[in-house]
Symmetry: D2
Subunit: 340 residues, 4 copies
């Protein structure tokens, strides 16, 4: 079997989750891992059979056995590490966004480095590979609902994040809503040209201190004339609420939440169903595995990448526009032209 020879950079909470998922994909062979705090998890990694470990990602990038790197470090390091990986000639899988900087020049510079190096870069827009949303996507593409007219996305996190984590990974718009901007554009197969956003702190007023919000509603205008509606919250007490609906001239497609069993309990009070899956780790496990498997297949067989550099730029632009819309109270145009 042809295999991708992979290095993993970043084994924090997210990285460890991704590592376990990667270990179930036969097309990917983990050659080495790099993590600053490697000592804390070294033994645990040995148990998983991952014994080639380093603190220094530069060492991993110099490893000639490695052709591909998976980058799971904090957002504030993406710019530096992706650029270095490209320069080392490695194919790259990286979580969105590419940069903390809301001026997109920084992200474009990263993409230019990737382009110059001639390597492949896949962005971790995992939801594109969620079985629910993928099913909608394929049905929309197959014309099952005719011309799409409205896309609606409900995306609610189960709980507030610590302020210092937000500082490292970005606030609601740049960490969380960015996935929804990408999903909306992906479903519609059309760029976002205008954003109107309204948001505030209905849950945790202290978020204002770090210039963040916890509740957000948005109207999108697409290039093809269609509209979008998104609503976000940082705390849905019933779990991780992830739903998508696409309405078109010939019908509607709608994905409800996913729970861990279909069991119904009927008693003298009510009918009880299981709550939606509680966290992204469970809900998007199949999506995480699928996006990485697809990435491997792209590298090995030339299949298309799930999400590319321009996709993250477009999502970032929508987030920037939304930020300005909240600040000004006015809808904001989004530029759809892009050249590296």
């Amino acid at each position: 079997m042809k295999q991708v020879h992979a290095g993993i950079i970043g084994l924090g909470r997210a990285g460890q989750m991704h590592l376990k998922n990667l270990l179930t994909i036969p097309e990917i062979k983990i050659e080495q891992v790099a993590e600053v705090f490697i000592d804390n998890i070294s033994e645990q990694l040995n148990d998983l059979g991952v014994t080639n470990q380093t603190k220094d990602y530069h060492e991993l990038l110099s490893n000639p056995n490695i052709d591909t790197v998976f980058i799971f470090t904090s957002t504030n390091t993406h710019e530096e590490i992706v650029t270095a990986a490209a320069q080392a000639g490695k194919n790259i899988f990286c979580e969105k966004p590419l940069s903390m900087n809301t001026e997109e020049e920084a992200s474009l510079n990263v993409l230019r480095a990737v382009k110059k190096a001639g390597v492949k870069l896949q962005i971790g827009f995992n939801r594109r590979m969620d079985p629910q949303f993928r099913n909608i996507f394929e049905n929309v593409r197959a014309g099952k609902i005719g011309a799409p007219q409205v896309v609606k996305i409900t995306s609610r996190d189960p709980d507030l994040l610590p302020h210092d984590l937000i500082k490292r990974i970005g606030g609601l718009l740049f960490d969380f809503t960015m996935h929804d901007f990408d999903m909306a554009r992906y479903m519609m197969n059309s760029n976002i040209t205008e954003v109107y956003a309204k948001g505030g702190t209905l849950i945790d007023p202290t978020l204002k201190e770090i210039n963040d919000i916890d509740t957000l509603v948005l109207v999108l205008q697409f290039e093809n004339g269609a509209y979008g509606l998104i609503d976000n919250s940082r705390r849905a007490v019933y779990g991780y609420d992830q739903r998508v609906e696409v309405f078109g001239s010939a019908g509607m497609l709608k994905a409800e939440n996913v729970s861990d069993s279909t069991v119904e309990l009927y008693n003298d009070q009510r009918t009880e169903l299981r709550k939606p899956l509680p966290m992204f780790q469970e809900r998007y496990r199949p999506a995480y595995i699928a996006e990485m498997k697809k990435f491997a297949q792209s590298l090995l067989n030339g299949e298309p990448l799930v999400a590319q550099g321009e996709d993250v730029i477009m999502a970032q632009r929508a987030a920037v526009a939304a930020q300005k819309s909240i600040e000004t109270g006015l809808p904001q145009k989004v530029d759809t032209t892009l050249s590296l």
Copy 2:
């Protein structure tokens, strides 16, 4: 049994539906009906046992046996007939809105006439009594989802209306969305203070000729800090799509569409469920009956009215603001003060 002694004005398509529903409510006795084109339906009314018929609503308003009138004529006649009914000292049930005129002074004048006459006026915001939405309303009021943060309404008609009908009853915003503005405000128990609307003709471009649209998305801001999202379409090929969701600090309530049976058909292609109910007549039949029963109980026992004059003014203001928002591309404030 104490009974309301009722006259019905207007027996077009809607009026005939309401008449049949009224005939199932024992608290309401139909004393007389008035309809300009009474000859066309006279025999049919006789079959239903409704034999006291007139062409002239003034005659009905002079009938001393009648204490209450139900007005089911076209919107463009509401102003005149409601005012006359109030002056005749009759309690009034009238469909929204009170006036075709987007300047609300006309509607306020109608309400002033009602106030001066000391009669009761209930507005036909039937959806407030839909069993689905009523269940949500009661659970929200009971605190089951904590503080409401976002209300979402999906409201899609099964098909386009003829242009000349639109001219008589108002376009999408004033005929259709007005129900959603009222529902949003009802669920939130808070006034709408700002509206942002984006709409167009994705289905029938000739609607532009009569200054109407067929597709609409809206963001609402409420006085209590919460947000609202509404999306409308004139044509959902799968039926009459009427859904409401309220999200709050302690949970979410969500009403899916209603179909005529729960039967599931499993075959080698798919699992098939029944479509949503096709039209407002079927979907809102329980609501129509309930709102009129409640009106009768209000008249007979002093129970509160389901929806009053100020409710229709508030919904009209939101519709006017939405109209301006579409025209200007900017969000619009909505005044929440009201004095007659």
Copy 3:
């Protein structure tokens, strides 16, 4: 409009429910009602506009304005009253069964009287007109699931009945399961040829004193080779549990329970749905109205009756066989030949 001129005999709890339903059917005009304890409810009937009242059903049967009688008295009176009504030349709607006597000769004698009089008799197998089950029935007939192979019926009452009521209306098999035997035969369009039953008192052991049971499971063999499974209970704490499933060579049809709203409540504990409708009055209200409307249409326009005399005989035979099966522990054959 052509109308059925009806008399109603029996206005106990069931009769009063039926009366209210009948009042909503324009094709049926109530000419007179008869009830032994008429004094208790006379005023209430006046309020409903039902003023022609008598204690004596013979008086009603002599009323020349009446062409049709609806019999809602206790089972133990059916034999006498149906026979008298037939002899008086009235068309008859009667609840099942026709006789308390498990020897079917008594029921056959009633049917012979009906036949001799040349009147129409419809049996109150209301579930045949339940929108859920009717939808299944029509899809089965239309061949949507190919050749039916197994029918499964779950039928559970919300709570135990008083012993003295059981004595008047029959025990589980003759009052309750009889509906399921009819439903099974109706769905399969084939006679039951063998019954195996297993039952006991898992809820109320004192039922043994009146030779009744509260829990029952059954296997049926049909003439066409197909099988049936039925399970009954007298107490489902979550409501009135009424489900039917038909499995065939090309698919499956399945009706779940019906509740009063589709609203879902999501909280930090669970997802909550509404319980199934609590009682036969609510669940089968559409079915009760539909079966009587169909009966009227049969009388007025010659449409087929919903359920006839032979249907009740066949259901009674299955009940008798089930009784013997429980007593002997052995499966029992059911005769499918019938001649009056």
Copy 4:
């Protein structure tokens, strides 16, 4: 990490599926595999990193690095191989049943060999670990539905099996229904004391030639007084139909089928859902992995086994009784005493 050192015997279709699942369980290390037709799949195994291969299971049983064997060969070899594995001192995971022989002495002899060797034996009643059914089981045990009164199992295969396969693995009762007997007993936590079965060939009459059936309905009596209903079919055109319902004094638990997405498609014809998962491989994948993980944990940490030798004997006895019931047309008692 402590690990189970495993050998796998049998890599036919089922064995290959199990192998892939086993490779995702870190607690289990595959030391060697044995398969008579190893040449056909040797390269494929190498790709999976499974390089220690043999044609001869005796060689594997002599491997001192192996402490545990997983037996995935045809039923007709279980007797021999399980006995040999026990004598070799290996812990054993084996699919049900232990013997083709309907005289249970053969199976008991296998269990005696296991007992004498002092090794652990887990039976592959995988459905016990299905997330749906496990959820029901745990809720029943937790008393959520009070005293269980009726268990209902629907179990339908997607399609007929080849006759020669049936000869090797047993017919409907011994290969398929045996899972349902175990599930019924597991849910009820009570032994089956009586079985009534009715079955035939409604799909493929040629099954009679090999003394098998394709359609089956059953009534069970449990030691605790409760009842059971099972229905089986060899061909459900809509997929692999696997449902369980337990009804009790305080409520009901019900597991519907599982599909690969929750997406709903609404069009002008119907609402479409995804079909149930098509085959046992997909539907029970989580169950297969969970039962083996549990087995490893039992070996490593002393946790209880998921299903043991006596469980398979009890299921076999129910199958034997059902066979006799079909042949005689009479219910059959089942002995619940067992001593090795």
